[in-house]
Amino acid sequence: MKAKASDHSAHILPLRIYLGVGFALFILTGITVMISFVDLGGWNVTVALAVASIKAALVVLFFMHLLYDNKIYLTIFLTAIGFLAILIIFTMFDTMERGRLYPEKAKPIKPGAAIYEREDSLSSRSVDTTKTDH
């Protein structure tokens, strides 16, 4: 059991790592708040998510010990992120490009609504599908 106890003590990180990471997270929070007041056009969301990803990496690698632990846990975490990326990227292909392939003829159920009247959209879609089928 003595060997086990010394194994455990090998996992203990020095205090300065926790305080340093906490300080870095504070600084990055300040940076992301300040950048949000600058108009970067479409880049604002990219920068905000990039800073958030750096902060998330710090939390996961140091506070959650993934940098030091058995890499099976890192694999599980990256699997979650990977499947989340598949969900979001492939759904956004549809969301952003909808109406480009087939012209949208249906009208919204009310002005500005994201839901369209059923009959029109169904008939226009079935006609277009037969045209593009090879």
């Binding site: 086990k4 455990h8 949000s36 998510l49 506070f63 959650m64 846990y73 599980i76 969301t95 002005p111």
Partner: protein, 215 residues
Amino acid sequence: MSESHTHPAHLAHHFSDVEQQRESAKFGMWVFLLTEVLLFGGLFMAYAIYRAWNPDMFYNAHKALNIYMGTANTFVLIASSVTMALSIRSMQLDKRKQTIGFLIATLALACIFLVIKYFEYSHKFHVGQLPGKYYSYTGIKGTNPHIFFGIYFGMTGLHGLHVLAGMSAIVWVLIKTVKKKFSAEYYTPVEMVGLYWHLVDLIWIFLFPLLYLIG
């Protein structure tokens, strides 16, 4: 108990040694955290779709959120993550009283987070910045601003429930720490609660810029 000299009291009989027990617990915890990421992932997906369809409305509506309270809550939650990590480190060093102190500090910071959240929520309830048909505010330009508040309350509400669940888990390990159930050899429950608490922080790290810092 005849084998107590080879089997520590905290080692369950179906594990071959302490290390295997610890690694199994951690494996199970990470699989659970995977499901948590996917649970919130669905809401992030909804956010992405509605923001893609209503970019201007999202920009106008996000100005109704209080950026100072959001920033303060980010600092509070990061500080609570630091104290949580330090409570585990103290247990590794067998400093039980330090662990108790850091766990209480984590709980106190979590309470501050919820109090700030309460002020934000009560203001929005008061002025009618609410989801769906309960939306009665008139000061936001753009179509369907109630969608933004549906997403805001859905995401921060589920996150708030996770904060409450994390606080309950912290109270549980705090009581067990006070009762001297943990030592430098065995502190797995504290470590698992720590992982959960860091995940709650992790989700807020993404919620904060996406809701409060649009453009």
